[in-house]
């Protein structure tokens, strides 16, 4: 199936970060990997977990929890790397995202999706474009492209280039981040 056909269907991969359930459209998902050793890249923002070997290519891995403003991922047997292809500045980039556990592939139709709650959320909400109610559970609908949008990438730049300086964007400065993660 090609990408365009994929985008038309209503299938979503759901996964958990902590107790919350999130969904990403299957057209964004390339594969799901078990945890492997992640090589940390020094002096990079904390949510950039490092790089792994994906069939001979180097794949960056992002700690989704930190990215969403939650506490860093604690590795368990259920921790997975979801390999996604996202669009950044018009270019497709492959990236691994850490999730606490992968749930299932669900059909979610548009009428099931409601606008996101505007307040009272304990994670960054700008990546969430809606909420779906499936079997009495609320699922956060993720806009994966936005997660890695240009603006976000600029933050990567800011925090790598001026790690020691004041944090500007709500990202933790790398020094502090690294200390807390070790």
């Amino acid at each position: 199936m090609n990408k365009e056909d994929l985008e038309k269907i209503n299938s979503y991969l759901t996964f958990k970060l902590g107790e919350e359930e999130f969904a990403a459209h299957v057209s964004k998902v390339l594969s799901i990997m078990e945890m492997v050793k992640i090589t940390k890249v020094p002096r990079s923002p904390e949510y950039m977990q490092g790089v792994i070997n994906l069939r001979g290519q180097v794949l960056p891995v992002v700690d989704t929890r930190i990215k969403f403003g939650m506490s860093p991922t604690e590795f368990t047997a259920n921790t997975c790397i979801v390999v996604m292809e996202v669009e950044v500045n018009g270019e497709y980039v492959q990236v691994g995202t850490l999730v606490d556990s992968v749930q299932e592939v669900l059909e979610i139709t548009e009428d099931q999706i409601q606008p996101p709650p505007s307040i009272g959320s304990n994670y960054k909400s700008e990546f969430i474009y809606g909420m779906a109610k499936v079997n009495e559970n609320f699922i956060m609908m993720l806009d994966m492209d936005k997660v890695f949008s240009a603006e976000e990438m600029m933050n990567v730049q800011a925090s790598t280039a001026e790690g020691e300086k004041q944090e500007t964007s709500g990202e933790q400065s790398e020094t502090a981040a690294s200390e807390s993660s070790q």
């Binding site: 090589t39 002096r43 960056p60 990438m153 020094t175």
Partner: protein, 685 residues
């Protein structure tokens, strides 16, 4: 044929570049006959190739140019500025012709006409040997019978000719009756086996015409007596009576002669004897198509692909070695070792294929310097050194434009007018020296001019005006010069149409960064400016030193590594000034665990990898040095775009990822961090 065409295009471009180069040199040494010969040869190749691959306009045009230089070669014409200008203009036109092919339109057509006219005029009234000749049309379908007499000279064999092949070919033209005449063969004792004693008579019935028969003997025309006469229309050999009579007569007395053979022809069949052998001229080919031809030229895409495969092989080989080591199987280890050796050779070989000498860019530079200095009324000489230095093809491609820009700057802003130079007590002619050389695993290209140089104070002022720096900031000379590479920063107060094209040094720096290159400026006001471009040798594989820091492995490019020392843990942590004495020399060092924000090691011993950083030696403290490693460099990708201390990653034999350090960038970063820290500390006090 089309596939060959690409190759021709590539080659034609080389020829044009070579031509241009030779012409520019000829301008300086108009009497140099070797250069004239070179010019001639490039034109000659262009002409031949052009005609062969359907570039008839180009071929014709070059033909006329070639004629001019043929005269020069003979000494009946002189090389002068007028001719060189015309030829250089023609070279530009040739480039266009190569792009456009035979379909000329509008301006190009006019230009082509004008230039052709000028070139022809230049030849003056001298008869121009014309290259185009039409081929006499052959093969009327009517079958005719010929008598052929072929008597080669005795020394025919000396030229490697085998007359039997010619007879064979003749027979191939139709139906033939061949009568060797052997009576000339001497007795065995007197015979010289190197000589040809035989001659032949042939009766041939063929649909081919007279000239086709002559063409068979074209190589031996001057070494044999050849007669071709028409005996009759139609095929006499199918006439039983004639054939029988001929056979009988031949067996009786050989060497019949035309008259005797004619006598055998039935009366009504006798035709007129044809005459006048023609030299075979071949038509200039219209783009002729040939089937079933595939190029065996390796285009750059294939090279890239090969490099990728080699990279994969290197990675796989590393895995094999690792497994072999753990297997305790001697035979396997031996095989793995061999594979390693072969892989290394293959890798080096593959690299070599992708390397191109700096020389290939020089002609463009010469041309730029010539044209630009002329239009600015400046006298500039470009000298080159070390142009045999080789670089990855992809690097050279990206490098040309930035270097052209740098040269443009040199001539436009650097070198003064002859008048200014005289007043400054300099020779009127400015000099630009382009120097390429290896420095470790990088190649440096230096462009030095002896022009007016750059005044750091002026740049400082400009930077303050543009709010790039605050008026009170203290900058070193190097830091000031680095400002030139900031976007939108131009030192020239008046923008000329030469360098003021909106492309600044920031673009140069960015373009170079794409190929992991760096650029630096140094200048002495009044005496000149030096730009140094530092480039990696290759983009894909590096020889490195594999080291361990905490639970991660890193690769340090071997080229940067000076020496490895063991050290006590206590010597490298909690030291006041980060200096350690090694071999009696005080060497600043960085404890990488600390710099990478990792907890200190609990091991008592550490290893220090001393690397070269500019002119200094700097120690990098790691946990352990594992050994040498060939790293296939993979990009960290867009997400790590701003991570410049790490130039990439490589996949190890066990499938994990090791990071490849860019020691220069890393040390640069650490030093500036440290400086900032010290500043903060001192401010606190």
């Amino acid at each position: 044929m089309d596939k060959f065409k690409n190759k021709f295009l590539e080659e034609a471009n080389e020829n044009i570049a070579g031509l241009e180069d030779a012409l520019l040199k000829l301008e300086k040494a108009p009497q140099d006959s070797d250069l004239v010969e070179k010019v001639f040869r490039h034109m000659h190749s262009l002409k031949g190739g052009g005609a062969m691959f359907g570039f008839n306009q180009l071929s014709d045009f070059t033909h006329h140019l070639e004629n001019v230089y043929d005269r020069v070669r003979e000494g009946t014409m002189e090389v002068n500025q007028g001719l060189l200008d015309l030829t250089l203009e023609s070279v530009d036109h040739l480039k266009n012709l190569l792009q456009q092919g035979d379909e000329l339109s509008g301006d190009m057509a006019t230009r082509h006409k004008n230039l052709s006219l000028q070139v022809k005029k230049y030849l003056e009234s001298g008869a121009t040997p014309s290259g185009s000749q039409s081929q006499p049309s052959s093969s009327g379908s009517q079958e005719q019978t010929y008598y052929i007499y072929f008597d080669p000279d005795e020394d025919l064999f000396d030229n490697g000719t085998n007359p039997l092949f010619l007879l064979d070919e003749l027979v191939g033209l139709g139906q033939a009756f061949v009568m060797p005449c052997l009576q000339g063969i001497p007795l065995l004792a007197e015979m010289d086996p190197r000589k040809c004693y035989t001659h032949w008579e042939v009766v041939l019935a063929t649909t081919e015409d007279h000239s086709a028969i002559h063409d068979v003997f074209i190589f031996v025309e001057d070494q044999a007596r050849i007669e071709v006469q028409k005996l009759a229309d139609g095929n006499l050999l199918s006439n039983e009576t004639f054939r029988k009579a001929l056979e009988e007569k031949y067996h009786k007395d050989q060497d019949l002669g035309i008259d005797a053979v004619k006598g055998l022809v039935p009366a009504k069949d006798t035709g007129t004897a044809a005459q006048s052998p023609k030299k075979g001229k071949q038509s200039n080919g219209q783009a002729r198509k040939d089937e079933g031809i595939a190029s065996i030229r390796v285009d750059s895409e294939k090279i890239d692909h090969m490099m990728n495969l080699v990279s994969e092989l290197v990675t796989t080989q590393a895995r094999l070695s690792l497994h072999a080591e753990h297997s305790e199987n001697n035979e396997l280890e031996e095989i793995a070792e061999n594979v390693q050796k072969l892989t290394r050779q293959l890798r080096d070989n593959a690299f070599d294929i992708a390397l191109v000498p700096v020389e290939t860019m020089i002609t463009r530079f010469n041309r730029l310097v010539r044209d630009l200095s002329n239009s600015l009324d400046k006298k500039v000489q470009l000298q080159t050194e070390g142009t045999e230095t080789e670089l990855d093809k992809n690097i050279i491609e990206t490098l040309t434009d930035p270097l052209l820009h740098i040269l443009r700057n040199c001539i436009d802003h650097g070198i003064e007018t002859p008048e200014e130079r005289r007043q400054a007590g300099k020779p009127e002619e400015g000099k630009i020296l382009l120097k390429a050389f290896y420095s470790g695993a990088s190649v440096h290209i230096q462009v030095h001019d002896d022009g007016k140089g750059i005044d750091p104070e002026k740049i400082r002022q400009q930077a303050v005006e543009k709010n790039v720096i605050s008026p009170e900031s203290q900058l070193s000379k190097k830091e000031i010069f680095d400002l030139i590479f900031l976007p939108g920063f131009s030192t020239s107060s008046n923008v000329t149409d030469v360098s003021g094209r909106g492309v600044g040094m920031d673009v140069v720096k960015r373009n170079l960064a794409d190929i992991r290159g760096e650029v630096e400026i140094d200048s002495e006001p009044g005496t000149g400016t030096t730009l140094t471009v530092k480039l990696p040798l290759t983009l894909s594989i590096i020889d490195g030193l594999l080291v361990q820091i905490a639970d991660n492995k890193y690769v340090i490019p071997l080229s940067a590594v000076d020496k490895i020392y063991a050290a006590n843990h206590s010597d490298v942590v909690d030291t006041f000034n980060n200096l350690i004495v090694l071999d009696g020399e005080r060497i600043p060092f960085f404890y990488l665990r600390k710099e990478f924000n990792m907890p200190a090691s609990d091991s008592n011993t550490q290893e220090i990898v001393v690397v070269q950083y500019n002119e200094n030696r700097i120690g990098l403290v790691v946990d352990t040095v594992i050994g040498e490693y060939q790293a296939v460099l993979k990009s960290l990708g867009k997400m790590y775009k701003y991570q410049d201390m790490i130039s990439g990653a490589t996949i190890l034999g066990d499938g994990t990822v090791a990071l490849v350090m860019d020691t220069n960038k890393m040390i640069e970063r650490f030093s500036s961090d440290r400086q900032r820290m010290t500043n903060v500390e001192s401010q606190k006090k």
